[in-house]
């Protein structure tokens, strides 16, 4: 399975570098370079400054969302859990909206220093802050209550939603369009800087997840049973939540809100290979990355030279497909 998905990811990545609005093709360009011929500036910009960072960012974001989804579902023992549950998405959304609407109020030096990173940075801080707040609220005497976190997450989401609403009301026409497009998500803004800022966070977070796998398996039996098995339940919760907040915060910050991957990829894999997190987590990373790159290829070629926000693609393709899988395997899901 792991090998198959690795091959799938490599193949899709290779295709992704050759597909796009323009006719530029990486392989022809590589052959040209190896022959010592010169390739045009526009072609090199398209390949090395647009498609390549976009591909890398797609892999990172897809893997981050899928793995975080799997960790959350394991941690909350709830098939509906997604990274949104720990408040990351709502908080990141509020951060992004604040930056878009109120960004003009920042001191000029700060605005110039951050440039167009104002929105990603604000989104990341917003997501991180909300998660930490929710975590603090649901932890008392060193014990985090998953139930409080779930319900508290809903309350915080309502609160950040209200604050976002106020900001949306204050926004002008142009800002409203920016908000809408941010919410639909896109990899179109991929740059190497974004990859280098978000990449290490996501990679570090993902690297931590294999160590959670056994504990998440134990947790499936319930918290008490897991503790009896010798699993450090509280420490594991801390690590899971911080990991997810970092990975999803970084992913959402650079690509906006991309739904569906975090829920569907883990479930698809559970149906295919079962619920063992030791296999689920790495496979989720590969499948999430592959699906997101595939969706991105569609998003940028279907109405070329214009581009469809990727959130629309993941939802229109993923929704019906997921329903089909679900109905075919109904019996497997009755827990």
């Amino acid at each position: 399975m792991l090998a198959g998905l690795t091959v799938l990811l490599l193949v899709i990545s290779a295709i992704s570098l050759t597909v796009g609005a323009s006719g530029a093709n990486l392989w022809t360009a590589l052959v040209q370079i190896l022959r010592g011929e010169q390739i045009g500036l526009q072609e090199s910009v398209i390949l090395f400054d647009i498609r390549l960072p976009r591909l890398v960012m797609g892999i990172l974001v897809g893997a981050a969302l899928a793995v975080s989804g799997a960790v959350m579902q394991g941690l909350f023992r709830n098939p509906l859990a997604d990274p949104g549950l720990v408040g990351v998405s709502a908080g990141a959304g509020l951060g992004a909206i604040s930056a878009i609407v109120l960004g003009g109020l920042l001191p000029l030096t700060m605005r110039e220093g951050l440039g167009y990173y104002t929105v990603p940075v604000a989104a990341f801080l917003g997501g991180w802050f909300t998660t930490i707040l929710l975590y603090r609220l649901s932890t008392s005497r060193g014990r985090t209550s998953v139930a409080v976190m779930l319900l508290g997450g809903i309350a915080l989401a309502a609160l950040t939603g209200a604050l976002s609403g106020i900001l949306i009301y204050m926004a002008d026409d142009a800002q409203l369009r920016d908000l809408t497009f941010w919410g639909l998500g896109s990899l179109a803004g991929a740059t190497w800087e974004k990859v280098f800022v978000a990449g290490p966070l996501i990679v570090l977070a993902l690297a931590a997840t294999p160590f959670l796998a056994r504990a998440l398996n134990g947790l499936a039996l319930g918290e008490a049973a897991a503790a009896h098995l010798g699993i450090p339940v509280q420490r594991m919760k801390n690590i899971s939540i911080l990991t997810v907040a970092a990975a999803v915060g970084a992913a959402v910050a650079v690509s906006g809100g991309i739904g569906f991957i975090g829920i569907v990829v883990p479930h698809l894999l559970r149906l295919m290979i079962g619920p063992d997190h030791r296999y689920l987590l790495p496979n989720a990373a590969l499948l999430g990355a592959s699906l997101l790159i595939l969706a991105d290829m569609i998003s940028r070629s279907i109405i070329a030279p214009a581009e469809l926000p990727i959130g629309i693609v993941t939802a229109t393709l993923g929704g019906p497909f997921f329903l089909w899988i679900l109905l075919r395997n109904r019996s497997l899901l009755d827990l």
Binding site: Y116, P305, A306
Partner: protein, 303 residues
């Protein structure tokens, strides 16, 4: 910027380090390929123009340079032949590759085109980009025309067009002047009965004032959802809406049946004016036409 520097200028230095001949040749080739930007001179004659923004496209065609336009954005819907060109998407959410795929040698973009990341990539690709300032009065139209004409290398045509439009506009404004200006409510959308109206600092207020009216909605900037009571209080003599613009389109019937709008002087007199959005809010060569169309309706409502 940095992302360009990363693959560009540093590599020639690396290639000079002693290493296996094969690898060296490869790296050198890569370096040369990536250093190509410096060699590529700016085109003398721009033949492939990408036009971003409805008014920008209108002006290019009005200058008689429409045959040089190879692609447009979604908001460029006039003149009709512009619609046949490839559409690179909404002007504020451009995809860099989509833009590069139409191989423009000049991009003329309305103020606010973006996002910034896309613009930066286009700069890295060394495609000249001219930003056209936005504004909602006669001076702004002249500035737009002159900026675009300059970018296309036809400043004389620009001066001629700007003079013509300005004279035409002055006439239209003169003819539109009224002793008691009508109060005009501009409704951007009427989705689900909720009224999205134009306040200060909008193109809508600009065109209303040029056509001899005053904006009935005061006290806020931009386009806002307004309450039904505020609409009744504003007591507009004329209700102005855009036609044929997707979800902005609101039927006349909706206005008359609306609990608040239906009670306004405008609805009672059936003074509901609908004009194409780009004509009203474009602030380009057709603005005199828009002023005449509106002032006719305003005077009818007043008289």
């Amino acid at each position: 910027m940095a992302q360009h520097a990363m693959v560009g200028p540093q590599l020639p230095g690396i290639a000079r380090v002693p290493m296996a001949p094969g690898l060296k040749a490869t790296l050198l080739a890569v370096a040369m390929a990536l250093a190509w930007p410096c060699a590529q001179a700016k085109a003398e004659e721009v033949e492939r123009v990408l036009s971003l923004g409805g008014a920008v496209t209108e002006i290019i065609y009005a200058l008689g340079e429409g045959d040089r336009v190879v692609a447009r954005d979604t908001t460029s819907t006039f003149p009709a032949e512009a619609r046949d060109l490839p559409d690179v998407g909404y002007v504020r959410s451009l995809s860099p590759e989509g833009v590069l795929s139409v191989a423009p040698d000049l991009i003329v973009a309305t103020d606010g085109s973006g996002p910034a990341e896309a613009i930066e990539v286009l700069q890295a690709a060394e495609i000249p980009l001219v930003t056209v300032p936005e504004g909602y009065d006669a001076a702004a139209i002249r500035l737009k025309i002159e900026t675009i004409a300059e970018a296309l290398g036809v400043p004389e045509q620009g001066a001629t067009l700007a003079d013509r439009v300005e004279a035409d506009l002055t006439d239209a404004i003169e003819a539109a002047r009224m002793d008691t200006p009508p109060r005009v409510l501009f409704i951007l959308s009427l989705q689900g009965g909720r009224i999205m109206a134009a306040g200060a600092g909008t193109g809508a207020q600009g065109i209303i004032e040029l056509a001899g009216g005053v904006n009935a909605m005061q006290g806020f900037e931009g386009y806002r959802q307004v309450s039904e009571e505020a609409v009744l209080l504003a007591a507009p003599d004329v209700i102005l809406m855009m036609e044929g613009a997707g979800d902005h389109a609101a039927d006349r019937r909706d206005v008359l049946d609306h609990p608040a709008l239906g009670q306004t002087p405008a609805a009672r007199a059936d003074a509901i004016v609908r004009q194409p959005g780009l004509l009203l809010l474009g602030f380009g060569p057709r603005t005199p036409e828009a002023v005449r169309a509106l002032s006719g309706a305003f005077q009818a409502a007043r008289g």
